[in-house]
């Protein structure tokens, strides 16, 4: 009989090993799933994990990693702060949408004015938009004790309706021949979140993602706020004893993750996507939850996890077109990754023991 036994100290080795093993077991589990779907498992795994990086078209896919990875990392860094403290913002997708609407709105409201100040203002509005949207669950939680998981999640659907209304009404392109969607910001130089160096796909959002990783690392390791966040997650009573104000922490964590999600939305709408449209959001806000846990809520871990998750997105798209894999299978693969990670994570704090058969008298 197998038995789990709690380790006196968390195992560091397993902390690093668990994510790697999770990727490997996901490949095996995914391979089995693809085989059941009637595809060659080895080819499918290779297409998803290997081709985007090393095939003959890799020159096209590699920059895509940054484009997909940056918003995931930016959002996940924000979420990880709250997750560490046991504050569950599940509505990053909504904050991402509102950030995009506010950022794009700031630019469209002054169109076609040409100024170097427009893009910084858009960044500010994007962050404020996401922050404000996250304040709704935060204030409801601190004032009335509502559950932030439900409120933030439901606000995603409100944000989606708002997005649709914007693309069909207020923000609709007057020169767009009646099609839904705003003006394309890629064609509005002052507002375009363009590549900083041609061919690298590094836009301002990538830079912000990197800054957020470093910021979060310093915060958690060296600053009082980060210590209080970790303490609250470990033991809320001890945190209260240490003098942490739980309400302030809720405001801070939800506000920070909302602002970063808003930023991610703003960089997306001003850059790779270009316009506010009904199907602007593609689930980064939800995938970022997986990224945050896959990265073990550690800033540098999240950076790697964000790139890995971007890889499955890109590899998944290739597999869909070249092998005809259904998109649901790719989502299942991403879910498997989280599942295996959480399962293997147990081994950081527990060890598996063979239970000895007890000797009878």
């Amino acid at each position: 009989m197998l038995r789990l036994e709690k380790r006196p100290n968390p195992s560091q080795a397993w902390g690093y090993l668990a994510p790697i093993l999770a990727v490997i077991t996901t490949m095996i589990g995914g391979g089995v799933m693809f085989a059941l779907l009637g595809k060659d498992p080895f080819e499918a795994i290779r297409t998803i994990f290997y081709d985007p990086l090393f095939s003959e078209f890799a020159w096209y896919y590699r920059p895509q990693l940054l484009i997909k990875g940056a918003p995931l990392i930016l959002i996940a860094i924000g979420l990880s702060m709250g997750f560490r403290a046991g504050i569950w913002n599940i509505g990053a997708e909504g904050q991402y949408i509102i950030g995009a609407i506010c950022g794009a709105g700031a630019a469209l409201s002054v169109y076609p004015l040409d100024s170097v100040f427009i893009f910084p203002v858009m960044i500010l509005f994007g962050a404020i938009g996401g922050f404000a949207w996250a304040m709704i669950p935060a204030i409801l939680k601190t004032k009335f004790g509502t559950n932030e998981i439900l409120v933030s999640l439901m606000l995603v659907y409100v944000a989606e309706q708002l997005l649709a209304s914007m693309s069909l009404g207020l923000m609709k392109n007057p020169e767009g021949f009646g099609f839904p969607g705003s003006r394309n910001l890629q064609q509005y130089a002052s507002a375009h979140n363009a590549e900083l160096w041609t061919g690298t796909a590094i836009h301002m959002g990538v830079v912000f993602a990197l800054i957020s990783v470093i910021f979060a690392y310093i915060m958690l390791a060296r600053h009082q706020m980060g210590f209080h966040i970790r303490l609250t997650g470990e033991s809320p009573k001890a945190a209260k004893f240490a003098g942490v104000n739980p309400n302030k922490l809720v405001i801070y964590c939800l506000g920070f993750s909302g602002a970063l999600a808003g930023l991610a939305g703003m960089f997306e709408v001003a850059g790779p996507s270009g316009q506010i449209s009904i199907d602007f959001n593609v689930g980064y806000g939800f995938t970022a939850i997986i990224v945050a846990f896959l990265g073990r809520l550690n800033p540098f871990g999240i950076m790697l996890a964000g790139l890995l998750m971007a890889l499955t997105y890109i590899g998944g798209e290739i597999a869909q077109s070249s092998l005809g894999l259904p998109s649901a299978a790719i989502q299942a693969l991403q879910g498997m990754l989280l599942f295996f990670l959480l399962a293997l994570d147990m081994l950081t704090n527990f060890k598996i023991k063979l239970a000895k058969a007890e000797v009878r008298i």
Binding site: E234, K237, I361
Partner: protein, 501 residues
């Protein structure tokens, strides 16, 4: 001596990394009150669990009244005539006494017969109890009676009692002892687990002492002094804490009319608590847990805010201040729950040092944390308080209860507080560590600090307090000099006599 009821021979039980019981053999005679003594971790509970069928021994044999005794589960043990009263009661507050007793029986008789049975037993053994009352309305002593009667209805040959007096007032203890002596006279054997040596010396005729899983001795406790017994338990000489005679200084902390509504559905409210604390004073606050101890500590530590004027330190009102502002002023606290309140279980000792010492030990500079300094402070606490651990990088949960408690107390004491409030400082701590902790508190007071010790352990309070007050149902009695109080008076205070007057 009478004939043997339970014969234990070579009982051994190993858990991963520790041998809980190593070749333990002794006999319990029929109609004997047999004490089982030992520090925490000495293997008392494992041994009792084997007798009660909760744990199976790796080796060894048990004979009950001459027959092979291998209970596979508690039900088998009960059927064979072994009953047990646990330290923590398992009663439903919303049900009546009779209903609770019926729930614990294999074949409960009809309600009427049961009520008669309860009344008969309670009268026969001097345990007054009305079968129709709700358990929620009973005191701790009365609840214990419910557990005892539940056992007695099964007419056991051996009754095991685990720390039965830890929640009782002195008067209730006397009643319990009368009952136990009656049981003994009727031929029932009792295995009595306790760490209160004086009690054992008055009650028991045989004592078996365990240390580190091994039997040290079986002796007659009436022929030994409490100190000799304690030293057998610890395996060395024991220093008892000594209060240096100091004259009390001026008033440091003044609490006046401190009231608090209940914080949770089952919380206790504090009712107009007032007292004054002097420099060099150790104020012992006695009372059974659940009478407002946690709430009082939370009000003093700053986890719960009250009216500003209710708490004053040297004339400064601080009832409205958060914990760290109070720490800066010199009011420190150590809550009862070590893991999860005083310390975060999965964090290292360095991080746990940061938890309360951030302000006074200057471990943070404009929000940025000075980890090397925190680690140095954790090391200092570990050294000065003899905390047994590989080092400051160990997680708090990896420490034993006594060692973690020494760390928690040391962390506060070394911050040089003006006022230190501790709740149950030696609860579940082995005798040697408890003595160290008491001495540290007394040393702190002799250096001029004021100390409040909230404790259920009367022996402890009598040993270290200058003044004594009792907390009962959220009311605090007037503080009186410990030396002037008799045991009877203390018992009356604990029962709320002062508050009623």
């Amino acid at each position: 001596m009478s004939k043997t009821l339970l014969h234990l021979s070579g009982l051994t039980k190993a858990y991963p990394g520790v041998i809980a019981n190593d070749d333990v053999s002794f006999d319990i005679g029929a109609g004997e009150i047999h004490a089982l003594l030992g520090e925490n971790g000495a293997g008392k509970s494992t041994l009792v669990k084997m007798i009660y069928g909760l744990v199976r021994p790796d080796h060894g044999t048990m004979l009950l009244a001459g027959d092979n005794f291998t209970p596979a589960e508690p039900r088998a043990a009960r059927a064979a005539g072994v009953a047990m009263v646990f330290q923590h009661f398992s009663l439903f507050e919303a049900l009546s006494v009779a209903e609770n007793i019926a729930l614990g029986m294999e074949n409960p008789p009809k309600a009427n017969a049961l009520s008669t049975g309860i009344t008969d037993v309670s009268q026969a053994y001097g345990l007054p109890l009305d079968p129709e009352r709700l358990v929620g309305d009973l005191s701790a002593g009365e609840r214990q009676r419910v557990e005892i009667i539940r056992c007695l209805l099964q007419k056991p040959k051996l009754l095991i009692m685990d720390e039965p007096t830890s929640v009782l007032t002195p008067q209730e203890v006397t009643t319990l002892f009368t009952t136990l002596r009656k049981l003994k006279a009727d031929g029932t054997s009792i295995l009595y687990i306790s760490h209160k040596l004086e009690e054992i010396r008055t009650l028991c005729e045989t004592a078996t002492i365990l240390r580190g899983g091994k039997k040290v001795a079986t002796c007659d406790p009436r022929e030994k002094s409490a100190r000799e017994l304690a030293e057998m338990m610890v395996g060395g000489t024991l220093n008892s804490a000594k209060l240096q005679k100091t004259t009390l200084g001026e008033v440091v902390l003044k609490v006046s009319d401190l009231s608090l509504p209940p914080q949770t559905a089952f919380g206790t409210s504090l009712k107009s608590i007032s007292f004054q604390l002097h420099k060099g004073e150790v104020l012992g606050i006695g009372g059974v847990a659940g009478n407002g101890q946690d709430e009082l500590l939370a009000c003093l530590s700053g986890e719960v805010r009250t009216a500003a004027d209710a708490i004053q330190l040297n004339g400064v009102s601080l009832g409205h201040m958060p914990p760290n502002t109070r720490r800066a002023l010199g009011v420190l606290a150590a809550p009862e729950e070590r893991l999860g309140h005083a310390a975060a279980p999965d964090m290292t000792l360095t991080e746990n040092a940061m938890l309360t010492a951030m302000t006074r030990k200057n471990l943070s500079h404009s929000g940025f944390l000075d980890w090397p300094r925190a680690e140095a402070y954790a090391k200092l606490v570990i050294d000065q308080f003899d905390v047994r651990t590989p080092g400051p990088h160990s997680a708090a949960r990896s420490l034993s209860g006594g060692n973690l408690q020494k760390f928690v107390i040391g962390r506060e004491v070394l911050q040089d507080p003006e006022v230190l409030i501790v709740n149950q400082p030696t609860w579940g701590v082995d005798a040697a560590a408890a003595a160290d902790i008491r001495q540290a508190l007394l040393d702190l007071a002799s250096r001029g600090a004021a100390v409040i010790v909230i404790s259920q352990d009367l022996d402890e309070l009598m040993e270290i307090s200058t003044n004594f007050a009792a907390l009962n149902a959220g009311r605090l009695s007037d503080a009186r000099p410990m030396a002037e109080l008799s045991l009877d008076e203390i018992g009356l205070l604990l029962g709320g006599a002062d508050a009623a007057a």
